[in-house]
């Protein structure tokens, strides 16, 4: 079953194309993230789902019912969704309880029900004793919880979140990630989450839509995105990576500084002769002495350390295997190599993802 169906949505602002061609089907109870750098169109997409912006092209359907099309759009207040805003948008002149109760009041529920549900909700977000406070008296994290409670209490068809954690400090951000995911799991809400923070999206989402310059780059699970990035943009935006250009030359794949037999790669026959591979720095092992042999399909590539950076929890070595390449390899913090030293890198073709350039 499909909860929310977004079909070929596009949106222009004047001559600027904010969203080009966005299609996505979301199952009930799924947690989807829209991930991309600022200006990629993710917030515009979210506001189209909410109904604040009508689309220029395409349709949005909820439970099979048409919500948005270029000619007509159900207004936000008739969509039964709720949203958490970047600014929280907590109303400063209402108490915490009044903020949370607002959506229920609009639905004209009996006062008793409202009070009971507000109390329950405040307990869920751990604000039980703060119902009579005003938002200005709360910390950033508490305000965030008020926003969550206010949005969740109406049991929305879809919960939309627009970079809700970007105003919090790092520790709180981590805590709130789990809080949001916990609420999602508890109430089984279909959730669309907009963020530019890849680790946020990775930790929370069932599926991630990576967007860039108004287009969808890839839709996949966090695992899939990291380990099988479909485009150069995804490979570089999700985690760090080395891009290695290569030429297929008969039975070999030539990386200029070194080469690997073509039969070591899966599915290489589909690919053209000019290739681009993504190789994560963490996938490369570094050895300071000449290794005895290779295990599990690894290839040993000798190179000189050009640069090193120490991060405390790891070393990053930039290594030149010849041919003017520079490959970044991450090692555990105890492995110290000197700049200029000759080292060996273990490269596994299994970890090298061919990317459509």
């Amino acid at each position: 079953m499909i909860k929310l169906a977004i079909r070929n949505i596009g949106r222009d602002f004047g001559s600027v194309v904010a969203v080009r061609d966005f299609s996505l089907e979301i199952a009930p109870g799924a947690f989807i993230s829209l991930l991309g750098p600022s200006g990629c169109g993710k917030t515009t997409m979210l506001r189209m789902i909410a109904g604040f912006i009508p689309p220029s092209r395409g349709t949005i359907e909820l439970n099979g019912r048409l919500l948005s099309s270029p000619s007509a759009s159900v207004p936000p207040e008739k969509r039964g969704m709720s949203m958490i805003f970047q600014s929280y948008a907590i109303w400063p002149h209402m108490t915490v309880a009044e903020n949370v109760a607002f959506g229920l009041r609009l639905r004209r529920l009996p006062a008793q029900d409202i009070n009971r549900r507000v109390e329950e909700m405040l307990a869920v977000v751990r604000l039980s004793n703060l119902g009579t406070r005003y938002p200005a008296e709360l910390s950033g994290g508490q305000q965030q919880r008020v926003a969550l409670a206010r949005a969740v209490i109406i049991q929305p068809e879809v919960l939309l979140l627009d970079e809700p954690l970007s105003n919090l400090d790092a520790n709180l951000r981590e805590e709130m990630r789990f809080e949001i995911r916990r609420l999602h799991d508890e109430f089984k809400m279909t959730t669309v989450y907009v963020t530019h923070d890849q680790s946020e999206a990775m930790v929370m989402s069932d599926r991630i839509v990576v967007m860039n310059q108004g287009t969808v780059e890839q839709i996949d699970t966090p695992y899939g995105l990291y380990n099988a990035p479909g485009t150069q943009f995804v490979a570089s935006f999700i985690g760090r990576t080395n891009f290695l250009a290569a030429t297929r030359d008969g039975g070999k794949v030539d990386f200029r500084g070194f080469s690997i037999p073509a039969d070591q790669f899966d599915h290489l026959e589909d690919l053209r002769s000019q290739l681009l591979f993504s190789l994560r720095p963490q996938s490369i092992r570094v050895s300071q002495s000449k290794p005895a042999g290779s295990a599990g399909g690894e290839f040993w590539v000798q190179g000189r350390v050009l640069k090193r950076s120490y991060f405390g929890d790891r070393w990053d070595y930039t290594i030149d295997p010849g041919g003017g390449l520079s490959i970044v390899a991450s090692t555990e913090p105890r492995q110290r190599c000197e700049v200029g030293e000759m080292v060996w890198m273990a490269v596994n073709p299994r970890d090298m993802v061919a990317i459509r350039a």
Binding site: G51, S71, E77, A89, W91, I154
Partner: protein
Amino acid sequence: MHPEVTLKSPWHRWNPTELLWVGLALVLILLVGNPLLRLAWISLETPSGGFTLGNYAEIGRHWRYLVGYRNSLALGFSVASLCLLIAVPIAWGVSRTNMPGKNLVQVLVLGTFVTPPFLGATSWILLAGPNAGWINRAYMGIFGADSGILNIYSFPGLVFVIAIYSFPYTFVFTRAALDLVSSEMEDAANCLGAGRVKATLAITLPLIRPALLGAWIITFLEAIAIIGSSIIIALPANINLVTLQLWQFFGYPLRVEMAAAYAMPLLLVTMGLFGFQQRILRGKGYVALTGKGGERRLIDLGAGRWLLLAYSGFIVTLSLVLPYLVLLQAAFAKGWARGLGWNNLTLANFQFLLFQHSTAKQAILNTFVYSSAAATLALGLAVSVAYIVARRLVPFGNVLSVLAFTPFVIPGLVLAIGFYAAYAPPPLALAGTAAIMVLAFMTRFLPIAYSNASAAIRGIHPEMEDAVMILGGSRLVAIRRVVAPLLKRSLLGAWLLVFIPASREVSSALFLYGPKTRTMSVLFFDLTEGGSFEQLAALGVILLLTVLVFVAIGLMCVGRDFMLRKASE
């Protein structure tokens, strides 16, 4: 595809917001556009309705008319420059140094700001009128001279009396700019070997040059458009000014077409200078004025701080202390020249105004009614326009914004002439009605209302309303439940900021009042002909009390900085 769903489009033809937009645009055009067009039109009209350039030609033929322009320009230059001399040291002292008594100085500058200039000018007649003025008598008494040294009825006297009530503008501009200059700017100069004086003169003052120039322009325009002080000082001194000449065109015989033509250069100069000022203030390159200030330390002046305090005290003594003293003395005196003493004390002046004078009570009532009505209407219009502009609910919102700001660049008396030209004749025939007074006040102070309303609305994050809508409330619910409560406080401040200047408005009132629509300030000028100084002073005290009561309400409800800060926006 889904026939069971009925869809409503927010961009449907003639939805309510678009109707509202058209309505507001019409109101703004009637209030702002039409009077200006009528003004231009009538200046090109013969009495019988034909086209002519004769009105303009007639200006060129009369030396007296040309002298009016010359004098007004000279007045503007002198006042604006004198304001800089008066205000910059005080502003620097308050903003950058450890001068003592800063709060008191600021309060007294605020006091100067809310003092109606025509009241100050009247007090200065009591202080520096030839021979009879208090200062002159003191001088003659001490030095045994035959005649006093000061004559307020002179060009320098006129310059002084206008400047001493205009310098708060310069103060506000300068202080706001100085508040943004970080100490690091001066530290950098110190490191390179510049002393404190050198750093202030070579770094700080040039940094705030745009603000100084802006203040100079504002006070220049204030001086060339001021009618009250002109009537009180320049008329007896026989100095013709643009303002006085316009006023005379409105006397007998009434020559609206000449007034319109004669006002055109004033209007153009004003608009031109405002445009220029906007360009300067927008000019890039003065990072200190746009960016965040770094650390700010106060400059230790040593013993010099007392000197600076004495200077500030001297200025506010001239603007506030002495004028209020002589005004109070005169208001409660049988004869102001007879000095202090129990036998000279009386309430007769107040009694005369409140119980005997034929129109005084009416005028006081009118002042309150017109000012409240103008403030309420202006604010209502301003909030509606500001809201739909800020939320981009309509296309071309900026046109509305520009229209709402336009009265700011129209001198009050020019606006009044335009209103007269547009709405005095049939079909509306509003001449002498309360309606034309209220509409003129409302239009005149619409920019104050608009800039405040717009700032207040911009302070409300649009997501506050989005949150209402996504939870199921319409925009009207969002306005009623969220926007209105959040605006309440700042709108009270804005209301007062319109009410206070409206309650002491002279320029448009003097041109538009009728027999039954006098306000307190009109009455004041009635009394300058034929009334006594004692009665004038008493009326002045009533006027001042009115203003002070409302300023006090503002300070209590909105906060200490409310007038000075807002005035600089």
